[in-house]
Symmetry: C2
Subunit: 389 residues, 2 copies
């Protein structure tokens, strides 16, 4: 027998999925997004209840990567470039201010605290994120998706996702090159933009050609397998151009969203994403050392104060963005609040920062704490902002 | 960064899935089952075209294991114990003769050739398999599923699957204990039977309880995740009782087939299986050393003659089984022919034999050749057997 621990692998996957669903259900019952429960489930698993579960198991790490690629692919499929153009300049303005203001606030705070340039960039970048999934879900649950504010938020969140991904790959390039070089930032930004431009120029032809071939094939499962392989190949192409894998996966999704098979792919992708996406969030949670948040441990108090300061800046930076929207009788506070949840994108920043060694464990804990708190605060704030009007 | 080769993993998965679908489509166009194409796709990948693809990569091996567990789970969900009881004694008789005759023939030939007891048991066991998937698919494609012969074949194939899995776990126990002990065979058979008895006694209550809980939960993806976790947990329970993981996965499927969520689970499982099941077949194909079939290489000629002899015994043993069916005006030749394809179950036997070291590479090649040829021959033979009547 090869030394493959199938038993440990299946046991770990079972534990991950069970805790994801139990805590996800609890979160949902408490009116919170399930992703919060999945994170908490991971935190609980990270306590070491099960001897077979290791937060740094390479096979589980691959499954988590598979999950985050599927998540961004799915987000891309549910994005719509034409819808984005419809809601127009309002969402573009909100997205830009919603990226610039939090970045400036976060970067500024870190510089004031005397932190290094790379750390400051990472924290600023993590503050720019907007979780389009969480926002869309909350607004849909409230039955407010048809309101103009909701359309502006969704449009801005989609632009923000693209901007966030460009920032992420820029920041990843910085992490890889080992030092903060504005030249490198510009270069990776350009490469990301070049990848996106090439993808959106060649992509529609390639994706339509692929769907055309798929139409003429009859073997079982050809649609979902082609879609997943397309996401993988685009991810690998993005990686080969020095950009992040998930940029490619997201782009693949947006491209397939423009084909006539969008709904079929989305439907078939759902159960696959249902299984693998929670693995990513649970594994992120499992890496959070809760002891880092113990205020009695010396030094932790500073980190907790930092986390809370980041939360305040995170709220401020996005709420301000709401006022960038033009239009009559808009609930600008509501728009800003809709941009607050950092969700998965913010966690990806934190994760990249930790795994590349740019961010140390306490700062990681502060950023994750900021992401968790903004994600946690958004649904009740959104409810309040939109229940009056 | 942890040393996780995400890029190599995604590239390998892409290569596996693309070759599975291209060769699967070719097979389908040539009127052959796609599984044959997936095997051939694996053989081609095994030539070493891509430097990043390694047939013994542990991460890919885990994905293949995941795939075979999903396959047996899906087969279980599409099995029906009550349907089995309807077609009654005819399929039971066909299944029993269809297991005993090929086993006796294969075991006898190997003993005559002076091979060891364990090798003889493995080869005999590999000959007992029937691929319910291939048979059902071919009959459905021919529009003959309503015929009594088709129902008898399906019933017998389902029983054969269960018998085959008991034989497999018995044989796996033999391989693990290192020597051929009839006591061990009896013990593993009893343990398998005990697991199945316990599963079918407690299982319906547990699966109904699980579905009851799932009904009351609202978090996204709860049904498919619960189903997959149920398959994993049953697989682990089977393993803990000394039986094979796939026995548990199959049992989990049969149990869930008896719940009111059967169709929902089957529908959600399809895209997941579409992605992961081909990985198993491609990886099996990738381990076939085609050079072993070169008749010019000294010694190979003997193996090829052995493979062809096994094919003859495989055909004979199953065709004979057709005459075990009682009932008026039955196409008994057609029933026997319907039992011929060994498909995935036969490959699992070969795989277990090779990985446990009981079977050497040439004998593995002979058994895989037998499986491939019976699977290849079945569709045209079935067409001929049923086109007249």
């Amino acid at each position: 027998m090869h030394e493959i621990d199938v038993v440990g692998f299946l046991a770990s996957l079972s534990a991950i999925l069970v805790s994801a669903k139990i805590f996800g259900e609890l979160a949902e019952r408490l009116g919170q997004p399930p992703v919060l429960g999945e994170l908490l489930g991971g935190v609980v698993l990270g306590f070491g209840i099960f001897s077979f579960f290791h937060p740094n198991d390479p096979a589980l790490a691959l499954m988590a990567e598979f999950g985050v690629i599927l998540l961004l692919f799915e987000t891309g499929i549910n994005s719509d470039l034409s819808e984005l153009l419809k809601v127009g300049p309002a969402s573009l303005a909100v997205a830009c201010v919603g990226v610039l203001a939090p970045f400036a606030l976060g970067y500024g705070l870190m510089c004031l605290l005397g932190r290094g340039g790379m750390e400051s960039v990472f924290v600023g970048a993590a503050l720019t994120a907007t979780s389009v999934g969480i926002t869309a879900r909350v607004l849909a649950d409230m039955g407010k998706l048809a309101r103009p504010e909701a359309q502006i938020i969704l449009g801005a969140a989609v632009i923000d996702d693209i901007l966030g991904i460009i920032i992420l790959s820029a920041v990843q390039g910085v992490a890889a090159s080992g030092s903060l070089s504005w030249l490198a930032v510009g270069r990776t930004t350009l490469l990301s933009a070049a990848f996106l431009a090439a993808a959106f120029w060649l992509g529609p032809r390639i994706s339509r050609m692929m769907i055309g071939i798929v139409h003429r094939m009859r073997v079982r499962g050809i649609l979902i397998v082609s879609a997943v392989v397309f996401a993988f190949v685009m991810a690998l192409a993005a990686h080969a151009l020095g950009t992040a894998l998930i940029v490619g996966a997201f782009t693949a999704g947006v491209l397939l969203a423009g084909t006539d098979k969008r709904e079929d792919i989305d439907g078939a992708l759902k159960p696959v994403a249902d299984i693998f996406v929670p693995i990513f969030f649970v594994m992120v949670g499992a890496k959070v050392q809760l002891s880092a948040y113990n205020p009695l441990v010396p030094g932790n108090l500073g980190m907790i104060v930092l986390a809370l300061s980041l939360v305040l800046l995170a709220l401020l930076g996005k709420v301000v963005a709401g006022w960038a929207a033009r239009g009559k009788d808009l609930n600008r506070f509501g728009i800003g609040v809709g941009m607050i949840p950092r969700g998965e994108v913010g966690l990806i920043f934190a994760q990249v920062g930790l795994s590349s060694g740019v961010i140390d464990a306490p700062l990681y804990a502060a950023v994750v704490g900021m992401v968790v708190l903004t994600t946690f605060l958004a649904p009740p704030l959104l409810k309040r902002a939109f229940s009056g009007a």
